[in-house]
Symmetry: C2
Subunit: 269 residues, 2 copies
């Protein structure tokens, strides 16, 4: 299970302050802590709708520069603005990076698709179009089809695409957990080379013990075919379960990675 | 998720002593504690190979009598001996019970099958024959087919059969988690009326943090289609996750059971 560390996000108040104040050490520490905890990618989100477009551009440029120099893990540039993504790409000095995210909306595909193709970036693709998150598997897959067709025409390989099946709160509709899990299965079946990625927390919106519910969902999603997860790598329980998940579905030969993590004391219950 | 409480088992030393000493209160308390913790069935295992056949028969008769009077949850008579099962059936005064277990071995089907059919019992059927636990899905399903054919001829409905897909330690063969999960899926697909049941602990044999691994496997198995689990109902973490599992796969409308359990303080992380 690939882990995308979610902590450098301006929707978290101390992070927003660190970005605004250009607190280099704060951001570097947060990047390194996530990398050391096992993150494979470091997500960076400079916030949306705050400040002028110039402010936002300057913030993402600063962020990818700081994070890129603090760790050798690839950065995931997290924005739905083509201008911000383009600015980040211009400043990022690492070899490979991830762009998070595109949807099936034509204007986003037309603007973000070529940026990802040109830079040979991994691209997170949300299984939705202009109408918001569909409540059923079929419409999510239809969005994936539109995206895959478009990206193929741009020369992108399925291996570069990380489809996000999306998840709606089960407190609102008890069937939504299964909708997401079945969407993952179908994506893996239709596009064997493509990857899947997901944030977990929407599933538990409105419920008590949210982290418990999120972690349980991670295990089911891993069996359904989830390749990558966006989470807090400093959550030792979640990271432990990501390793257990790999082991249970045969992705950890001889249980080597799990046993090594246990010996390092990082498996917690 | 149906829960079969596993604690009244003579392989556990204090239980063996309570059975030998006919300590009625000990066994009653253990039955009631499991029922109160949410067990749907109370497994009773009087031990194998200890004492004369007459001793063993007397022990199981005593056990089903004590457990049957202590709780109104159905008993699961746990033995591979037709004589012991028959003795238990003779003494059990409850309406419905479970027999645990039969295999595809002809002599066991021929002896235990009719006992289950006559009593309209639920029957746990292990996905194996005389050769031991197969290491692959196909041979486990072949065993299920032999069993289902035999039980059908005896007039048993699929709904009475709880197939156990069986699990071998992933520490020995990393692919065995998937073999079990795929076996569950296939059983549910081939026999839509039949149920599936499993004990979890074999999966983690030889690994550290076994309970963590077992609970993670429970979540994956629930998504694969597991209907019932044999575990310790006094393990609050496992019981919590059984409820979370039901909720995530849409078996808990409006998350009612989960929220009720949370209000009762029984959801633990």
């Amino acid at each position: 299970m690939l882990v995308i560390g979610e902590k450098i996000n301006a929707s978290i108040q101390p992070v927003a302050e660190a970005i605004a104040g250009r607190d280099r050490k704060f951001v570097e520490d947060l990047a390194r802590a996530q990398a050391e905890a096992g993150a494979d990618f470091i997500d960076v989100n400079a916030g949306a709708g705050k400040g002028t477009p110039e402010d936002q551009t300057a913030s993402i440029e600063w962020l990818v520069d700081v994070v890129g120099s603090a760790t050798d893990k690839p950065v995931a540039v997290d924005s739905d603005s083509p201008a911000i993504i383009e600015a980040a790409l211009g400043k990022y000095r690492g070899e490979r990076l991830m762009i998070n995210s595109v949807t099936a909306e034509p204007e986003r595909l037309a603007s973000i698709g070529p940026l990802a193709a040109k830079r040979q970036a991994w691209l997170v693709a949300l299984a939705m179009g202009a109408g918001g998150i569909p409540d059923n598997v079929e419409q999510r897959l239809a969005a994936c089809e539109v995206i895959m067709n478009h990206l193929s025409r741009l020369g992108m390989a399925a291996e570069q695409v990380f489809f996000d099946p999306l998840v709606l709160p089960i407190a609102v509709d008890s069937g939504q957990g299964l909708v997401t899990l079945k969407t993952i299965e179908e994506i893996k079946s239709r596009y064997p080379g493509a990857k899947t990625v997901m944030g977990l927390s929407n599933v538990s919106y409105g419920l008590p013990n949210r982290k418990l519910v999120n972690r349980a969902f991670l295990l089911m999603a891993a069996y359904a075919g989830l390749d990558a997860v966006i989470l807090d790598p400093l959550d030792a329980k979640a990271m432990s379960l990501a390793k257990v998940a790999d082991m249970l579905i045969g992705k950890d030969s001889y249980c080597k990675a799990y046993i090594r993590a246990h010996r390092q004391g990082t498996i917690v219950d």
